[in-house]
Amino acid sequence: MADSRAAALLEAAYKRGQTSLSEYASKQVLAAYGIPVVREILAATPEAAEAAAATLGYPVAVKACGASLMHKSELDLVALNVSDGPGVRAAASRMLATVDQRQLEGILVQPMVRGKREIIVGGLRDKQFGPCVMLGLGSIFVEAIADVVFRLAPLDARDASEMMRELKGHRIFEAFRGEPPVDEPALRDILIATGRLLIENPVVQEVDINPLVLEGAEPVAVDALITLAAASHESAREGGKQQA
């Protein structure tokens, strides 16, 4: 059954003609599907961002957040490991000054997630196979290593378990460099939910959870991006006209 909160978020973005959701909205959709996401607060001002950081606990990540802001690191719109209030205010002020206000939903503040292992979970619509779920080793070497595995949605529990086993680097899911073995049922549920998200929301073109950090045994979505079907522009506008 489609999640109504996620459907409402996606529907609204689709009707506005967006081609993607912001990081914050993407994670709200994921959370609605039961996928664990990092705690985060969207702040409107540098002061609100500082208050959010105090609530979440230092050190924090400060990010400019908006649906059209894609390559945030390259644009210097991400500050990591910020350890105090003045730092948060300075980062937030800088971002508010550089980014066009119409592009900005707010300043996103998150606690830094500690975990030695990063993986990627993705969802896509393939021309041949339809909705598919991907699991891969992350994060910055993902393209060089290309250790990825797919399953067609919907996935059952065995499909999800086999995805983990099928990765060449499957050993990172075992006890690894002082870290406990991954919470397998939790990761399995994330893979299954990603497939469900695609099937239940035809407007979703791709889902990219990168990185999904293993915080000890527990997988947590730290960054995420949901893109919408390219055709959504036209149909959204036409839909709007008909209603008007």
């Binding site: 393939d126 041949q128 595995v149 067609l152 499909d159």
Partner: protein, 506 residues
């Protein structure tokens, strides 16, 4: 309309069988475009069908001739008396559409279009012709294979081998759909050489009407097919392929080889069949999810499919190696470890029993090294000792047929013949023949696989044939030429067992 779902209802299965029997079990076949020139495919395909010993009514169609290599030749399809099940079309491309129209008008039930020059080209008129072909076949409810294909084979029941492939393997449970006629030729050559029995072969060509998944679906319901091999370069509708594969793999083993896995290979595939080779990791993942076994190499794929036909599945990954020599035992142990198989320590009871069978200096471990003993019955006694053990799922035997191999050499020594040793040598060979038959019977007795690899297979089909290897393969126990390929088969058989029993595979 091609349906995306593969229905399991009894009526639809009966319908599928009826339709495909026109293709694989036709009572009458016409080769349209038959020619008396040995340089033309129109001659070769007629010849191949004749040499294959087709038992039904065989006709040639060519207005210029009355008879070709003893086969009656008619001016047109409509001149052939009685019903006609199958037409194999080898005409130049410009005459193909008209011929298919005649087939439809005459009520021919199935058509194999060998001729190339349609959807695989970049020519829009050729694409249009292929579309027209599809329309005619669908309107007439006629099966259509190809175009641009190498033909079909079905040894049983009518000894039908009709196409470009001139190999005539015996009948058995191995069925093949290949998107390449070239690869089809390789598989049938290999099957003939190793006495592997074939149920059905189809070269699917451009797949204008019937696609790989349609044949796979039929093979799944076909009583003659025991295991399926599919050589795939690309799919037209991946989801439909996936659905057919998943339904079929529940019932029968399906081995998939994907061609075009590298970008270079993919370019060749595109220009070759006009198929769109999808992104390989996704395709491979989909095949595994559907319950198929994926092989990278097509020799490994053939060997695995043949093992699926002839051997029971191991009920786990616990393997014991019985080896004639040290080196192969070591390589075999490495191969098993790499394949995720468990080379288990021998249980105490097995050790004690083996002490009574093997020489006192034997290795007392797994691999079991037979230390080149002279008693030819030692190997099968050792195999039975481990095979009957409940903690063992499969036995890998390395080195068979050495007596037969040596006998050929010994018979070349006149002094031995003068001494009357010929009969002794033959008697030793008979013991070995008896032993390979014993290996085959142990498989049935304990319902566990015995996989055999031996270097003697390399010359088994040469100038001095190895009687033991040939006998073993005649019985359906294939002889691998390397421990790695043998371990690959065992690994995949274990995966199939795990899949069927809902155990997550590696």
């Amino acid at each position: 309309m091609i349906s995306n779902m593969f229905s399991d209802s009894d009526a639809s299965i009966a319908d599928i069988k009826h339709k495909y029997h026109a293709l694989f079990e036709p009572s009458s076949v016409a080769i349209v475009g038959a020619s008396p020139s040995p340089l033309k495919w129109g001659f070769r395909i007629l010849l191949n069908t004749k040499l294959g010993g087709y038992k039904g009514a065989l006709y040639a169609v060519n207005p210029k001739h009355k008879e070709i290599i003893g086969i009656e030749c008619f001016p047109a399809l409509r001149d052939i008396p009685g019903e006609l099940d199958l037409a194999v079309i080898v005409l130049p491309p410009q005459f193909v559409l008209e011929s298919i129209r005649e087939c439809a008008a005459r009520g021919v039930r199935a058509c194999v279009v060998i001729t190339a020059g349609f959807g695989e080209t970049k020519d829009s008129a050729a694409h249009f012709s292929q579309e027209e072909m599809v329309r005619i076949a669908r309107d007439a409810g006629m099966l259509l294979v190809g175009p641009n294909c190498a033909g079909i084979a079905s040894p049983d029941p009518h000894s039908l081998y009709s196409g470009m492939v001139y190999r005539y393997p015996k009948s058995g449970g191995f069925s093949l759909v290949s998107q390449s006629g070239n690869v089809g030729m390789t598989v049938l050559t290999w099957a003939e050489l190793h006495q592997v029995g074939v149920a059905r072969f189809v070269s699917s060509g451009n797949e204008a009407v019937l696609r790989s998944e349609d044949y796979i679906n039929f093979f799944g319901h076909d009583t003659r097919t025991k295991a399926i091999l599919a050589y795939i370069e690309g799919t037209t509708d991946g989801r439909r392929f996936f659905n057919a594969l998943r339904e079929t793999a529940k019932r029968k083993p399906v081995v998939v080889v994907k061609g075009g896995t590298t970008s270079a290979g993919q370019q060749a595939a595109n220009s070759h069949t006009g198929a769109l080779a999808g992104p390989t990791p996704l395709f491979v993942s989909a095949c595994r999810q559907a319950g198929a076994n994926v092989a990278e190499d097509f020799y490994q794929a053939m060997e695995l499919t043949s093992a699926f036909v002839n051997q029971p599945l191991p009920r786990g990954r616990r393997v014991v190696i019985v080896s004639e020599g040290g080196g192969w035992g070591v390589i075999g142990a490495d191969a098993c470890a790499k394949a995720g198989l468990d080379l288990i320590p021998l249980p105490e009871g097995v050790l004690q029993e083996l002490d009574t069978i093997l020489p006192g200096w034997w290795s007392r471990g797994n691999p079991i090294d037979l230390v080149a003993g002279n008693d030819r019955t030692m190997m099968t006694r050792a195999i039975e000792c481990v095979l009957k053990c409940p903690e063992v799922d499969a036995v890998l035997v390395l080195g068979v047929g050495y007596m037969s191999s040596r006998a050929a050499e010994m018979h070349r020594v006149p002094e031995l013949a003068e001494m009357g040793m010929g009969k002794l040598i033959d008697a030793a060979c008979d013991v070995e023949l008896h032993e390979v038959r014993k290996i085959n019977s142990l498989i049935d007795l304990y319902d566990k696989p015995i996989i055999v690899a031996s270097d003697t297979v390399l010359l088994a089909y040469g100038a001095t044939p190895n009687a033991a290897i040939r006998e073993m393969e005649r019985l359906g126990v294939y002889a691998y030429s390397s421990p790695h390929n043998a371990a690959h088969t065992l690994e995949n058989m274990a995966e199939r067992y795990e899949y069927l029993n809902n155990i997550p595979r590696k």
